[in-house]
Symmetry: C2
Subunit: 257 residues, 2 copies
Amino acid sequence: MKKFKIIFFLLISSLIYGQDIKGEIIDLTHTFSEESVYWVTAKEFRLEEVANGKTDAGFYYSANNFSTAEHGGTHIDAPIHFAENKHTVDQIPLENLIGIGVKIDVSEKALKNPDYLISLEDLKNWETNNGSIPNNSIVLFETGFGKFYPNAKKYLGTENRGPGAIKELHFPGLSPEAAIWLIENRKIKAVGLDTASIDYGQSTNFATHVALMTQNVPAFENVANLEQLPATGFQVIALPMKIKGGSGAPLRIIAIY
Amino acid sequence: MKKFKIIFFLLISSLIYGQDIKGEIIDLTHTFSEESVYWVTAKEFRLEEVANGKTDAGFYYSANNFSTAEHGGTHIDAPIHFAENKHTVDQIPLENLIGIGVKIDVSEKALKNPDYLISLEDLKNWETNNGSIPNNSIVLFETGFGKFYPNAKKYLGTENRGPGAIKELHFPGLSPEAAIWLIENRKIKAVGLDTASIDYGQSTNFATHVALMTQNVPAFENVANLEQLPATGFQVIALPMKIKGGSGAPLRIIAIY
């Protein structure tokens, strides 16, 4: 438990300074179903019906079991996913998952190039227009690929599955250079984007994951509805399933603005 | 997306009227592991390691799969769990899962009687001391049983599993009378408690579930750390995994106060 004052201060100062608070909740989460997008080698989501109907005792009853990889659908990569001895998903401090959000829209470039790498220039252009990324921000990248979800062919670049499909993955991601600049020059809590991985589809060394997670910065992947967010002026609340020792987990992520 | 003004108004009015904002985040969630408490007939949580160590490519990598019943550990019962055609877990409006919290502590009575039913009198006593339960509240009940988690013998009344163990379940719950009074006389968003079920262990007709869920009121079960909350003056944010058509789901629930 730590102090959690930023949200209060932002809201108060928003009112004092007359900034518009629209006060809407936006769900940035895709539903989990058999259509959910998973890494080509990962175990997909399966729901198994246990009960659905009237019981002998007279009341209606519905219940299911499910199985899934930690990393699929809208989920969090905990730092330990790519960095030994760093936070497991249950160890990530809650204050790192709640805070001021900024959205960096690179969709114009990324939709023209499925191998697009979000660059340091993209970050600097955003700051020229919006001011410096605030301390303790959660930084969300809109590549535009969210609109293809759950069409694997368009969203991942391939509808094939298995190890042989890895080389067919084509979707945008955050360049290692931009990730390292964010870590070294801005104080960020977490990053997220509307693709299946914070590293682009053609990555083989996952250098962006390694750079972020070595610094205990988690990543939110397959984030939904980013086109509904403004560039600044919203709060993010990202609450993952609390799996003991988990390298990641299904995530419910919302924005309030 | 709907208007979400209550949290803003509460925070602003708290400042204007000088109420103390402590501004702490409290995690009301138990971790999921093989120790997690599940209904005696439910499929328990299992984590299966997929990778944990240095890859041939040189980077560290950890990943797991898991399987579970929807209803186990800290979870939500969606209305459809006991009420046909009511909200599935993905259909519950987010604004019903975020809002003013109140805590009703019945632990003194419940710890003396594992079959304790939270009564209408308990609600009225709380209101005598704290004022009327505010409109749009999330009502949390502290039975004191949270401190026994995950010891099944103490928490559920039995460490046996399977259909034969159902009659051995002894833990407190909310009486149907109190649930119906809440629905008919107070406008509540959701209820929660620190036992395995909103109906007490000896229930056979699950009348409290039926009463709540017929009115589209969800329930949070196996909630943790309720002893850390005051009676009033906090916000609850309860974000379940967004399972399409789910009758419930693992829940990450926090309080801010």
